[in-house]
Amino acid sequence: MTDVLPFTDGELAAIRGDFPILARTVRDGRPLVYLDSGATSHKPAPVLDAERAFYEQHNAAVHRGAHQLAEEATDDFEAARATVASFIGAPADEVVFTKNATEALNLVAYAFSNAAPTDDPKDERFVLGPGDEILVTEMEHHANLVPWQEVARRTGATLRWVPVDHDGALELSGLDDLLTERTKVFAFTHVSNVLGTVNPVTRLAERAHAVGALVVVDACQSVPHLAVDVRTLGADFIAFSGHKLYGPMGVGVLWGRAELLEVMPPFLTGGSMIELVTMERSTYAPAPQKFEAGVPNAAQAVGLAAAVRWVEALGIERIHAHEAALVDLLQRGLAERPWVRVVGPTVGTARGGAVAFVVDGVHAHDVGQVLDDAGVAVRVGHHCAWPLHRALGAPATTRASFAVHSTAAEVEALLTALDRVPVIFGLDTERQAS
């Protein structure tokens, strides 16, 4: 393993300088302490510049038209695909641009329901019916749960799930009963957006493949924070959103193994995804075009490629180490406050870039409001993981999530603001008594 050096103060200042929004103030002139990158990341200037340059210099509908701008726009779009693909260790034609991770996951889910038995021959792996099972986990974001509930409803397949244990890890002791010959697909998150838990993707994928199930991984909270290489990951599909990876809103990625993309039925249909169209029926272009109906989000894809280059220049391993140090700092700070309960893995266990916690006796909305009053932006609520919160016995949590531009001073700012919570809400704590 190569040594990963932490960012120097100078480097961190330069990184922060790349984000125009970090210069603004909130709530009566307070500096912005943005600890909500798990919801969406801010965008560094090179990303904004790339998107603008596309519109200013090459704007055209890609894969349509033979004029020079159309050629340039198409080249830019395809180059963006290659850049994003290489970032995750994939060949370019295994990357499909979508609107976001939600659409990418729906694309796969709909491939299963669109493969309902008809006269056409269908790849058996995508055909679901009564008796078949879909396996998910209790820690899924709604984006990787609701589409599967819908597929189950449409096809008659049964939805099952792996529960979460007290430490916020998947309870794998019963996996043999859940993952069986009946399981056609196992969909789970790489890193929990609430708990920060890092799931053992490779091991789980091996178990799933052993029973012939396809593996769909929600990589929203992993790709922006740790090195992901699809050649060793073991998944068959991964989905992530550009806007959490310093890229623009409106672009997401589905990666799928070429041989699977080839046999999968399309999700959205229309222009740009066809090969031949008659009044009666159509044939489809090869992947990835087959899954990109309509004029695509080329400017956003170009912006995402700029984001990826920006991340690669810093090094994803360094970004991960930087964020891990901040996660650790925050966990330790919270552990000193007995009135705070952190959910998810204990200090020292590998975690993604998020830390969610509960202040017993004070609702997360109120905690978030007090933090916001100090300029500290966090997320409160169920974070689109309502069943997980039910399992945790907490209707809502407060979540701080980090990015490359986060600092130790910002962790301190959060902790200082948090100390006002027991004061304002009259909690009976040692701290308050002292």
């Binding site: 997360a364 909305h365 009259g426």
Partner: protein, 160 residues
């Protein structure tokens, strides 16, 4: 913070008229899907037409201090009052909360509701403050009360 007025904190710690009681004429369950706050609210009404009176409002609220306190103030302001007056109180509360801070609220109409004036400046919290009040109008409608004069009272959130 001007948001957390002492009155709001008091109501949230010791919500008035809390709990679910019998008898009642309608029960509703409203959710704020963005944060998962929930309220189950029952309403009892006696009399009809202009003689109709709110005999009881009982509720079980699970949520932030703003939403719990708001249900408490609601119960306080409408129990024992004629339905027509209660609807006027709801309307006044709604007007204040959705005014983005332009309307400070009349204490003679909304009572402790004036403590929520600051909430109007936090758009993300307005729904919290309205949760119980919206549930109340919905419950009245289900109890057979004509709530039509205030057409702006379209139910927000999910009811069952």
């Amino acid at each position: 913070m001007d948001l957390y007025q002492e009155l709001i904190l008091e109501h949230s710690k010791r919500p008035h008229h809390a709990g679910l009681r019998e008898p009642f004429d309608a029960e509703v369950h409203h959710i704020n899907p963005t944060c998962g706050d929930e309220v189950t609210l029952r309403v009892g009404v006696s009399g009809t037409g202009s003689d109709a009176v709110v005999t009881d409002v009982s509720y079980q609220a699970q949520g932030c201090s703003i939403s719990v306190a708001s249900s408490s103030v609601l119960a306080e302001e409408v129990i024992g009052h004629p339905v027509a007056e209660a609807l006027g109180t709801v309307e006044a509360m709604r007007t204040m909360l959705t005014s983005r801070g332009q309307v400070s609220g009349d204490e003679t109409v909304i009572g402790d509701g004036v403590a929520f004036a600051g909430v109007a400046r936090y758009p993300a919290r307005v729904k919290c403050a309205l949760l119980g009040w919206t549930a109340f109008t919905d419950a009245l409608a289900r109890a057979g009360v004509d709530i039509s004069p205030s057409s702006s009272t379209s139910p927000q959130g999910v009811s069952s």
